[in-house]
Amino acid sequence: MQRVGVFVCWCGSNIAGTVDVQAVSEALKNEPGVVFSANYQYMCSQAGQEMIKTAVKEHHLTGIVVCSCSPRMHEATFRKTAVAAGLNPYMVEIANIREQCSWVHKDVTAGTEKAIILGKAAIAKVNLNTPLTPGESPVTKRALVIGGGIAGIQTALDIADAGFPVDVVEKQPTIGGKMAQLDKTFPTLDCAACILTPKMVDVAQNDKIRIFSYSEVTDVRGFVGNFDVTIKKKARFVKEDVCTGCGACVEKCPMKKIPNEFNLGMDNRHAIYIPFAQAVPKVATIDPDACNMLKNGKCGICSKVCAAGAIDYKQKDEIIEETYGAIVVATGFNPISMEKFDEYAYSQSKDVITSLEFERLTNAAGPTAGMLVRPSDGKHPHTLVFVQCVGSRCESCAEKGKEYCSKICCMYTAKHAMLTRDKYPDTEVYVFYVDVRTPGKNFDEFYRRAVEEYGVKYVKGMVGKIVPEGDKLKVQASDLIANKQLHLDADLVVLAAAIEPDHSARPLATMLTASMDTNDFFTEAHPKLRPVESPTAGVFLSGTCQGPKDIPETVSQAGAAASKVIGLLVKDKLTGNPCVAIANELTCNGCSSCERVCPYGAISYLDKEFRMPDRTTKIRRVASVNPAVCQGCGACTVACPSGAMDLNGFMNNQIMAEVDAICK
């Protein structure tokens, strides 16, 4: 039995509003082991913590129960308080009377009653707590960045800058990501390539960074400090270290009608290709689905023309296994498919395009060398209609689109509209919007310039239907301010498609055991206070894999993720979690049940000598847990038929005591 102190927090009115905190601290006063009980406005404040420290000293407390917010919020805070007061940090238990009581119940009587019961359960548990000391584990001083867009690039550069080796895994043949496809960037209108490509070169030239392009992560094992990762480097049928990127093979390749992914299918590439001029690594890749040599052995021209001898038709996928101390996810986004939005006739007319296609269409390195023309007939468009919120802000049950705001569309649409009017003053440009959202430095000023200086016609309302007829797109829309239905004959329609996380993110999250929200964005450890960390230790988040972001936000988050990684990698040892399994050698019968369910291989068996009651000795096979490897899930405790396995911090008798306290 401990000498327990109970500390009930009001959390201002957050708890005290629905729970009678005075009654709770009174009621808990008489629980077994309790020698001190008090309540205070903000237990987590300096004064609140002082109150705990003083009570520990004055009342010689050995256990602390704090009835407050979720342990996910302040357990660490109160453990530090305990240490400061001279106690073992694991002698603290939290009763969650905010998130799981005062915030979800409206009735004060019921709320108070429940808070008391939760307090009793925590007291029952803390009475059985024992001081725990965490073990230590080494840190592999190397980081993995998954995704080679601007988020991954920035994170890798920042980590490498601190002196740690970094590997970047990119599934495309080149790094660069979405930003490499953009023309200009808002609100400064600097050219995306001009600011991105030097960074790509920096990555290539940094001797701390290795790029695995055309590669995928296929397996992740281990835990913070020591992740064992398997990377599949797909065969590109070109020797990366030999290829000079001269492009002779590309010119001579006879298969030249393959839709070019980099230009979103608006022009063609060859079966052997380099995605774009500034690609990193600048090496050719053979598309095995298009290459005649790989399909039926007939051709081989690229091999003949390659002066460097880089072509290797027999190349196989390569499997790389490497250990990393930290992993950064930077898997990025894609625009959603427009398939379910055919009221906008995307599938029926080539002149209805998405905003990303518009980027390529106006990019000097794009399929039209930057000439804004209609994809259908190459004519110059005079009337352009931009439609915002296509698939964003849809109700979840609307069965198409996404519930969230995609955040970047308002600004890039303003950019597109402005640039069009700037370059082609003979055009009429309409933007149909639901709301124009411009919270950002110089963002609203930018949008207003589009309207006031460039004469872009912003219309409050949505487009309802687009009918391609003849060489026109008949746009039917509403103007809610004028209370009119508008009928426009447009030449080009641009849809601001919602963005969604890349489809590779979901299987990756499973491998990393990192959690995702219902939209497949990665979840942060705390939405406000730990925005670049995933709840899984050692896994960090960079860029749009965490939520819609523009480039400046992505770059800031990438830097933040890098600093978290650096903070981890500078440590030589990591303090582990002492809540690991322990085997009672006296009752263990060596049956291996626990070993079979352990996902980490943390359990091994020792042959140990025991002295028997009759003073003879006997060698018995008993389980032994490696505390550095055990992650503390507790699967073994249930699998053990003799009850020899238990889990520190969540002992059988502790949980049973909680059950008893609740069921009275």
Partner: protein, 144 residues
């Protein structure tokens, strides 16, 4: 005559990584559910020993629910699969002993599913309340 409304006693075991966080999110979003539900935090749903559940019923719990990460999303990669199999066996045994199926449940609630957590608890509490008090396994020897 004054009629006091019957209040069931429900024990919810929540895994630390998904469901406990989901319950916290329900709180952050102020999504109400009955105060009859009392949550016990466990590292993983696979930490829940069948004896905890038996003990709860013996001591008069009217319903027990175990919440874990969605299949494939377990923080410990495979813990929830053990839970699923163990509980399927346990619940059918409990059913045989007279603890109705509606009194026991395994539910997957992710850290992002605050709304699902509240909805699940509301629905479960309603079902348990409809069954009335659990007398079947209430064993006085377990009570002080």
């Amino acid at each position: 005559m004054q009629v006091t409304e019957y209040k069931p006693l429900i024990v919810a075991f929540c895994c630390n990584w998904c469901s406990y966080a989901g319950a916290d999110l329900a709180g952050n979003n102020r999504l109400a559910y009955p105060a009859d539900v009392k949550i016990i935090r466990v590292p993983c749903s696979c930490r829940v020993n069948p004896t905890f559940i038996l003990r709860a019923f013996q001591r008069g719990a009217d319903g027990v629910i175990i919440c874990g990460c969605h299949p494939g999303d377990c923080h410990y990669t495979s813990g929830n699969y053990y839970t699923r199999r163990r509980m399927a066996t346990l619940f059918s045994m409990l059913d045989f002993l007279g603890i109705e199926r509606e009194r026991t449940r395994v539910e997957w609630v992710s850290a992002a599913e605050g709304a699902k957590f509240a909805a699940t608890m509301n629905e479960f509490a309603q079902k348990v309340a409809a069954l009335g008090e659990n007398k079947r396994l209430e064993d006085l020897r377990c009570k002080k």
